[in-house]
């Protein structure tokens, strides 16, 4: 008798092309998300953005070692495994960023002295990796039923030398850009949860990127909602 059921949700947003600069209007790559695809973790999700793909698994609330337990809230751990090679310093720093975002959102006080572990595996990296990791982590946390005060999403912006803004850049666009900003936004008031930036930019450009990311996050949250509706309407 057949095993796993896969809730597949593919929504086509405006698809990006490799050639030429895009306008500042919202043009994110094609999204896809699949939940509950792994049998061992309590929750799992796979998130695709264009050619970037990340698989996330969540375990929790589970046992925690006495050395790591916090008396009044859950201990959140994030493990990020790159596609090839051993995890290095870049992975450690991304893990910390993802952990800080999740800690701001997860209601840890409901499960003190437990651990919630998010394990992320990079399946393919074609630009905007951190944003894809954040989206996959959010979908996996929802699949596991971990209580959260809001959903969150990651959006990457790249600023070119001529000042144009590109959302959800590919790896080539990221390399050629003057500055790359990754922002994590929450779903309730589109507030900023986490930002990490690399490169040279002015504060007016930062505000412009923030506004563009907030507009783009509308699309991502609508995609989350439709994906979940599709999954739960099947049962």
């Amino acid at each position: 008798v057949e095993g796993a059921m896969q809730a597949d949700a593919k929504i086509r947003t405006e698809s990006a092309t490799e050639s030429g600069p895009r306008g500042p209007s919202c043009s994110l790559r094609h999204f896809a998300c699949e939940q509950n695809l792994l049998s061992r973790p309590d929750g799992s999700a796979s998130f695709l953005q264009g050619d970037t793909s990340v698989l996330a698994g969540v375990y929790g609330p589970a046992e925690v070692k006495v050395s790591k337990e916090i008396f009044n809230k859950a201990t959140l751990e994030v493990i990020l495994r790159p596609k090839i090679g051993l995890p290095g310093v870049a992975e450690k720093s991304r893990e910390r960023l993802i952990r800080n975002t999740c800690e701001a959102v997860v209601l840890g006080t409901l499960h003190p002295r437990t651990s919630i572990t998010v394990v992320l595996q990079v399946v393919s990296d074609a630009g905007s990796l951190l944003a894809c990791c954040l989206n996959a982590a959010c979908m996996a946390l929802v699949d596991a039923g971990v209580p959260m005060r809001a959903l969150f999403c990651g959006v990457t912006c790249a600023l070119n030398a001529d000042g144009t803004l590109v959302l959800d850049p590919t790896a080539k666009q990221e390399k050629e850009a003057r500055a790359v900003l990754t922002l994590a936004l929450d779903s309730v008031e589109r507030k900023l949860l986490m930002s990490t930036t690399k490169g040279l930019y002015s504060d007016a450009e930062l505000q412009q990127c923030l506004a563009a990311a907030q507009a783009a996050s509308q699309h991502v949250f609508r995609f989350y909602r439709e994906s979940l509706q599709r999954r739960y309407s099947k049962s």
Partner: protein, 178 residues
Amino acid sequence: GVYWVDSQQKRYVPVKGDHVIGIVTAKSGDIFKVDVGGSEPASLSYLAFEGATKRNRPNVQVGDLIYGQFVVANKDMEPEMVCIDSCGRASGMGVIGQDGLLFKVTLGLIRKLLAPDCEILQEVGKLYPLEIVFGMNGRIWVKAKTIQQTLILANILEACEHMTADQRKQIFSRLAES
């Protein structure tokens, strides 16, 4: 307005009053440590069995299956379970017998199977004579006359999650014929 929110989860969080199946992992002094699938093992006192006294200890070994209910279960304290109800009677709780098979399913499936008007259980009962115990922590223990029948029943219950009612009826009719 009161809302009932149903969710689909695999990880159990102890709730007071829930009946669960636990596995005894340790015996330390007067209490047993029982793994119930939550973040902490629950504690079970040796006196919390029907007819147990300090002289008459219950026969519980490490690795035994226990069906009991939680008397203390909140986020701040270690969960405690007992195998007697408030009147001191066992009412089906205690050590689960020899043989049989314990397997894990999602919490939503257990709630569906334990609903008062569940057809699945009636159909399964007509198929083979069986003993079955449902734990709200996602664990089911099943025992039929032969090992093959036990495995068939376990597979059917695990698959019930993903099948529609028609597919299920097809499978049952095929099994009833053979």
